[in-house]
């Protein structure tokens, strides 16, 4: 389907308080604009009940963790750009999307829209026990 996207869930303590969590989130938020069109991502802070629920649902083991299509892919290791591209490509829903992602392997991170992208992912905005997170 044309509007099908790769789902990325980032399990964190809190991307504002915890620098490791913050740079896990930024590794996704700094992906190039072309990749941004193909992914949907959400921060799940374990400080919130929703975040705890997602941690249990995905069988998380450590924080922070990047999950791609429900797989625990980067556990306590901030990925290199190419590693992220490769892991997303492996899980792309269509061959066309896989090829499009792979074609961006040499592009590298973009830093001009990080804050905007982090805001869309709810970064730092749901860190209380009763915070609601929607993916």
């Amino acid at each position: 389907m044309a509007d099908e996207k790769i789902q990325i869930d980032v399990l964190t303590l809190d991307s504002v308080q915890c620098a490791a969590c913050g740079y896990m989130m930024e590794s996704i938020a700094a992906l190039p604009a072309d990749v941004q069109e193909m992914i949907e991502y959400t921060e799940w802070s374990i400080k919130s009940k929703d975040g705890v629920g997602k941690f249990l649902e995905l069988k998380g083991k450590v924080l922070p963790t990047i999950c791609i299509e429900k797989d625990l892919v980067f556990e306590s290791i901030i990925p290199q750009y190419e590693e992220l591209i490769d892991e997303m490509a492996k899980r792309a829903p269509t061959d066309a999307m896989r090829e499009r992602i792979i074609s961006l392997r040499g592009h590298g991170f973009e830093f001009d829209k990080i804050q905007e992208n982090l805001k869309k992912a709810g970064s730092g905005q749901a860190t209380r026990a009763d915070s609601t997170i929607t993916s």
């Binding site: 303590l13 809190d14 991307s15 504002v16 308080q17 915890c18 620098a19 490791a20 913050g22 740079y23 896990m24 930024e26 590794s27 700094a30 374990i46 400080k47 009940k49 705890v52 450590v62 924080l63 922070p64 556990e75 306590s76 290791i77 901030i78 990925p79 290199q80 750009y81 190419e82 590298g108 991170f109 830093f111 990080i114 804050q115 730092g124 860190t127 209380r128 026990a129």
Partner: protein
């Protein structure tokens, strides 16, 4: 409250009981009913928050701030402020150039928020001394500061562009040494390098980039005759041996590590260790009993080189 006991534990020595440090951070603002952003920019409120928190929790030591944006902000990074959290860094001046090409310079006592911290320390220090509580200085470690400067690309650059990464992280280490000197001048008797993202890399990368670039700060701390530590977060199992060997008197870890494993490693290397009350699962969410969690930590930590603290 007992300063000497805390210093002894940080240096790996036996103590009559485990000393206690609440890494209160912006929780100090909550306790004095002020927003975090206001407290962190007002020296009188900051001193009040730290002293009130030390009294309330009967702390043996307390950090002046637990805010890893101070150093980045003092050399040109912009901040986003939060009412209930530490500020976050919003731009990366070295995302496409070296610190030299970006025109970055070493911070002075007048840069960024350093004047606020100097003034807060001046107010808080005598009050903490009266409580027999150590004023602790915590500053941003080289890899975390390099991440603030260059952004997330630094984790790719350590493999793809090691010369660039080395330049940024070396600069960050020198900034850290300056911060250590500032905290020593403020009268901090324990000064810690806090490098949370150093848990997110391989051991070889830690040895290549983190260990050498902590040495200027460790030297500054030891030249000042005070006690050093290295704080790391997350699941840092793969770099724990490197942490023990970095050259500080001790280290502190977070709730994700097994304290028995950490204790045995610390004792093998003759360094102090601190942690690891479960900040999230017990203290924040209450999914575990904080009391039982504390008992487990105290039993595992023992009385040789151990500081009881949140993880």
């Amino acid at each position: 409250m007992a300063k000497q006991m805390l210093i002894d534990a940080y240096r790996g020595k036996r103590t009559a009981k485990p000393p206690w440090v609440p890494y209160a951070g912006v929780h100090c603002a909550f306790l004095i009913n002020e927003p975090a952003d206001k407290m962190l920019q007002d020296p009188e409120l900051l001193a009040k928050g730290v002293v009130e928190t030390a009294k309330r929790y009967k702390a043996d030591g307390i950090p002046l701030v637990f805010d890893l944006s101070v150093e980045a902000n003092s050399i040109g990074c912009d901040l986003k402020w939060w009412a209930d959290n530490v500020p976050s860094v919003t731009n990366h001046p070295c995302s496409d150039k070296t610190p030299k090409d970006a025109g970055l310079e070493m911070p002075t006592k007048d840069s960024g928020r350093w004047p606020v911290l100097y003034e807060a320390a001046r107010i808080a220090k005598p009050q903490l001394d009266e409580l027999d509580c150590v004023l602790m200085g915590l500053f941003c470690g080289p890899l975390t500061l390099a991440s603030h400067l260059a952004g997330v690309r630094i984790f790719t650059d350590v493999y793809k562009h090691p010369d660039f990464a080395a330049e940024v992280i070396k600069f960050a280490g020198e900034v850290g040494a300056r911060a250590a000197e500032f905290y020593a001048e403020m009268g901090c008797e324990i000064i810690a390098i806090v490098d949370p993202v150093a848990s997110q890399i391989k051991s070889e990368t830690f040895q290549q980039f983190v260990t050498p670039n902590c040495q200027p700060a460790i030297k500054a701390i030891h030249d000042a005759g005070v006690t050093s530590s290295f704080f790391i977060c997350g699941d840092c199992t793969r770099v724990m041996e490197d942490v023990c060997k970095i050259g500080t008197h001790g280290f502190a870890i977070d709730e994700q590590l097994n304290l028995v494993f950490v204790r045995d490693l610390a004792r093998k290397h003759g360094v102090g260790f601190g942690g690891n009350l479960k900040l999230t699962l017990a203290l924040s969410l209450g999914l575990l009993s904080p009391r039982e969690d504390a008992i487990v930590s105290l039993a595992a930590g023992g009385q040789e080189g151990y500081t009881f603290a949140p993880g």
